[in-house]
C-alpha cells in the first residue's frame, strides 16, 4: 500500500486560526516556473501587487530545464517569415486531433484564436525568436533557429487531416552552444526580468503548506521558510502553479502506474502540491492518468529505422513526433521497444545526432538478429520482409511513413533496445476555466483560487506536442493572473 498521505488532498486552514499576517499582496502565486511567472506578470498588468512563493532557491522550475519550444501558431511573424501558412483554425484542428482523447476544446479554442497575440506578448517580455526554420527532425534545434516541427504535424495521420505547419517557437539564445543553455532557461530569464520590472515580491526557499479559507473563499496561504510557518494574505486571489506530480512517487503509482520507475522530467518540486492543495478545497481534477513519455532516442536516428515492440512488430510510423512514439511505447507496448536498422542507415546519421547510440546487437541475417534480441522466432523477419517489400516501391501502406525515410534494410543489421528510461511528466490536474479559475463541485469556480501550468488540465488532455506545456503555462498563466487581479 502506498503512502496515502502523499496522495491526499491537503486540508485548508480556517482564517480563524490565523493569528497574524506576515505579509500580504493582491495576488499570491505558488511556484515560479513559466506559469507562475506569467501569472505574476498578468496580475501586475491588471494593476495588482504580487508575491511569488518558490520552494527552490530561485525561480525556473521545470520550465528552465525545458528545451524551450513554445507551441504557437495561426500565422505568427516567424511562421510567415519562414514561408509557412497557418491559421487559428488549422492549429485548432491539429490540436483537437493530437491532444485527445477528450481534447480540451474550450481551452484549445481560445489558445489558438489568441496565439499570435500571445507571441507578441512574449516578445514584449523580451523573448527573441529568430525567423529561421530548423528542418532536421529533432527534439529541439541544436542551432539558434526559431521554428521547428514538434508534434508530428507533417506526419501521418495528422498530415492527412490538416495542412501541416511547424509551431514550435524556440527562444533565441545569443551565441548558443549546443546543450549549454536551453530555450526554457532563456524564456525564464526574460519572464523573470519582466517580473522584477513589475515589482513583484519573490520569496524563494518558501514552501506552501496550506491554503487559508474564509467562508469558502481562498484568502491566503500558510507558507514555511527556514523552518518557520507564517501566513501570507492574498487580497484578490491565489494562483496555484507549482507543476505536476512526476516527482511524487506515490501519486504516480496510484494514477499513472505505467510510468512508475521511469525518469521524472522536472524538479523535486513537481510533487503534486498544487493539485493536492486544490483538492483540499474541493477542486475537480481530470486526466491524472495521462503523462508524456519521451522516447529515449534522437529523431534523426529513429526516423529512417524501424521501431518494433516485444513481438517484433512495428506499431507506429517512425517519422512522427518522438514524444508521441514514447507515449505509444510506454502506455500501449509496455515500455518495450527497439530500433532495428542496418549499417547504411546508421552511418548516414551524423555522429552528433546519434547521441552516443550504437547497435547493441549486430547480425548478418534477420533470423540471427531476432534471436540475439530475444524477439519471437519469425516475428522480426516477417516485419522487415513486409517493410522492405514496400519500401523498395517507396511506400509504407501499413504505417504511412514518408517516402524520404523509407530505406529497405540490408545486411548487416543492427538492433538498439529502447527500454528506457523514458523521460516522463504528468499532464492531468486541476480543472480550470479559460481564465484559470479552479472549478469545484458542479464546476463552479472556487472563489479566490486560480491555477495554471502542469498543475492543471491544460492543452494536452492525453496526446502531447512539445511546446504545449510552456505554451499553456505562459498563455493560461497570464490569463489566470489577469483574472485574479480583476476579482
Amino acid at each position: 500500500m502506498s503512502n496515502l498521505e502523499a496522495i491526499s488532498p491537503i486540508s485548508p486552514t480556517p482564517v480563524s486560526e490565523v493569528a497574524s499576517w506576515e505579509a500580504e499582496s493582491d495576488v499570491v502565486v505558488v511556484g515560479y516556473g513559466c506559469a507562475g511567472a506569467s501569472a505574476a506578470i498578468g496580475a501586475m498588468e491588471g494593476g495588482a501587487s504580487v508575491t511569488i512563493l518558490e520552494r527552490a532557491g530561485a525561480g525556473g522550475g521545470a520550465s528552465a530545464m525545458a528545451g524551450g519550444e513554445i507551441y504557437m501558431g495561426g500565422g505568427t511573424p516567424i511562421q510567415k517569415a519562414c514561408g509557412f501558412d497557418d491559421t487559428p483554425q488549422a492549429m485548432f484542428d491539429f490540436l483537437m486531433a493530437a491532444t485527445g482523447p477528450s481534447p480540451n476544446e474550450e481551452k484549445l479554442s481560445v489558445y489558438c484564436d489568441r496565439s499570435v497575440e500571445h507571441f507578441h506578448w512574449l516578445v514584449e517580455c523580451g523573448v527573441t525568436f529568430k525567423p529561421s526554420f530548423y528542418a532536421t527532425p529533432c527534439w529541439e534545434p541544436p542551432t539558434d533557429d526559431g521554428l521547428v516541427y514538434t508534434g508530428g504535424e507533417n506526419a501521418w495521420p495528422f498530415s492527412d487531416l490538416v495542412p501541416p505547419a511547424p509551431r514550435g517557437h524556440v527562444p533565441q539564445i545569443q551565441n548558443k552552444r549546443l546543450l549549454e543553455r536551453s530555450g526554457g532557461w532563456e524564456l525564464m530569464r526574460h519572464l523573470s526580468a519582466t517580473v522584477d520590472k513589475g515589482g513583484a515580491a519573490v520569496r524563494p526557499d518558501t514552501r506552501v503548506r496550506s491554503l487559508i479559507v474564509d467562508d469558502g473563499k481562498v484568502v491566503g496561504v500558510i507558507a514555511r521558510s527556514f523552518g518557520q510557518d507564517f501566513a501570507i494574505r492574498a487580497r484578490r486571489g491565489v494562483v496555484l502553479a507549482s507543476g505536476g506530480f512526476a516527482a511524487n512517487k506515490d501519486m504516480v503509482e496510484r494514477h499513472v502506474p505505467a510510468i512508475a520507475g521511469q525518469m521524472a522530467l522536472g524538479t523535486d518540486g513537481d510533487d503534486g502540491t498544487s493539485i493536492r492543495l486544490g483538492q483540499g478545497v474541493g477542486a475537480m481534477v481530470a486526466h491524472l492518468d495521462a503523462a508524456e513519455a519521451a522516447l529515449p532516442s534522437n529523431p534523426p536516428l529513429v526516423y529512417p529505422s524501424l521501431l518494433v515492440n516485444q513481438f517484433g512488430q512495428r506499431f507506429i510510423n517512425e517519422d512522427t513526433y518522438c514524444g508521441r512514439i514514447g507515449q505509444m511505447a510506454v502506455f500501449h507496448q509496455q515500455g518495450r521497444c527497439s530500433l532495428v536498422l542496418d549499417e547504411a542507415i546508421f552511418e548516414s546519421v551524423p555522429e552528433a545526432e546519434r547521441w552516443g547510440a550504437r547497435p547493441t546487437y549486430v547480425a548478418a541475417t534477420l533470423a540471427e538478429l531476432e534471436e540475439e534480441m530475444s524477439l519471437p522466432t519469425g516475428s522480426l523477419q516477417a516485419t522487415v520482409e513486409t517493410y522492405n517489400r514496400f519500401a523498395r516501391e517507396g511506400r509504407d501502406p501499413v504505417f504511412h511513413k514518408r517516402q524520404e525515410y523509407l530505406r529497405p534494410l540490408e545486411a548487416p543489421y543492427g538492433g538498439i533496445p529502447l527500454d528506457g528510461p523514458y523521460a516522463t511528466f504528468t499532464l492531468g490536474g486541476l480543472v480550470t476555466t479559460i481564465d484559470g479559475e479552479v472549478r469545484g463541485a458542479n464546476g463552479s469556480p472556487i472563489p479566490g483560487l486560480y491555477g495554471a501550468g502542469r498543475a492543471t488540465w491544460g492543452i494536452p488532455s492525453w496526446g502531447y506536442a512539445s511546446g504545449t506545456s510552456l505554451g499553456d503555462g505562459t498563455f493560461f498563466g497570464r490569463r489566470s493572473g489577469r483574472a485574479a487581479a480583476r476579482s
Copy 2:
C-alpha cells in the same frame, strides 16, 4: 464541456438540517445488488438491524444480470471434486499477475486466504454449486456445471507463471435452459432470501440523494421515494454499494473516454452515485480510468481463429480470457479488431457457439481478404504467413497460443469485424480498507462510512477475470456489513 454536475461530488447534508427521521436502523445499505445484499447479511450476522435502499423496483441490480461466475479458489470442495489442485498462494499469485497494474495486494491477500470460507458462506446462504467442470471455452457455461476457467489461468502468460486452476464458480439452477436464467439471478435469489430471513427492511423505489453528517461522522441518508425526500438514520454506519458508473455518460467521458459510446453492462442505477456520495465527504477514489470491456464474440469461435488489429497484426494469444482480449482491443487497439479464419475453422465451431456470427468478408486469397477488410496492403498476408508457418509445426512463438487451437489457415478465408459494441463496466471507485471502511484524506477511515462492490476499488485494479465482481462484491460486502455492525 460535459455536464460537470453529473461528475461532481454530492454534498452531504448537516444533521442540523434534519428536522425528523422517517426511519432508523443500525446499518443503512445503499443499493441491493450482491454487494448490498451481502453487506446486509453481514451486518445482521453482527447483530445489527438493517435497512436496504434500492433505486429500482426490486433488488438484483447488475448482479442479477451477470452470468453468475464467482471467483473463488484455494481449494474449494468443487475444485477438489473436479480434480483441480489449488492453493490460496496460487490464487494470490495469479490475481497479482492478472489484476494489475497496481494490484490491490492488501485485498487480494485476505480475499485468497479466506476464499474457501467464503465458498461455505455462500452455500450457507443457499447457493448450490454442482461439482462438475465445463471444459469448453466460454463466457459462462450453457450447462449447469459449477466450475469453469474465467481469467486465462490456463493460457499464456499466466500458465507459465502459476499452476493453473479454474476458479469461476457458477450457482446451479435446477433444470437450467440456455439463457433463460443466469447464475447471477440465482445468486441474488438466494442472497435475497437470506436477507429476508434476517429481517432486514427493504425499501425499493428509493434513491439516496445525500449523506447526512454529524461532526464528520456519517449518520444517515436523505432518500427520495415517490417524489418525497426524507431522512433515514444509521446508528452504526452507511454502506455504499450501488455499483460503478458505466451508465453515467459524463463520468465515463471524463474518466474512461476509451469506452464512451460502447455498451454499458448493468442497470441505469450504475450511475456513480455511491462514488459521488463518498467524494462529497472526502473519500479517496482510485482507478477511475479502468474498465472491463468484453470482446463481442464467443470464445469457441475466437480461440481457433486469428485476431488482428487495424494494422493486420495479431496482438494477443487468442486463447486467453476474452474479457482480457476486449480490454486490449479497446484500450490498446482503439477498439478496432477482426477475426480472421477459414471455412474449416468456421465449420468446426458448433452453430450454437457461433452466436449468429458469419464471415462478413469471404475471399479465395489473403490478398483479396485484406483488401475487402480494408486492412493495409501486405499486412494480413505477412501475419497469416508467419502464423501458418509455425502453426504447421504446432507452435506459436510470437503469442504462445496453445497447440490445440493452432490451425494453419487455408482458402477459402473469412473475416468478421469485431468493432463492437463491447460490453463495458467500470472498475475504479472508493478506496476502502479490507473491512470496507471508506478511506478519506490521508487514508484514514471516514467514520460511519463503508463501501463494497463496483462502487469501490476492489479485486480488479485494471486487469479483470470473470467472477471477480460478484466475488469481491459478496466477499467485501459481507465484511463491510460486519464492520459496520461492530462500530
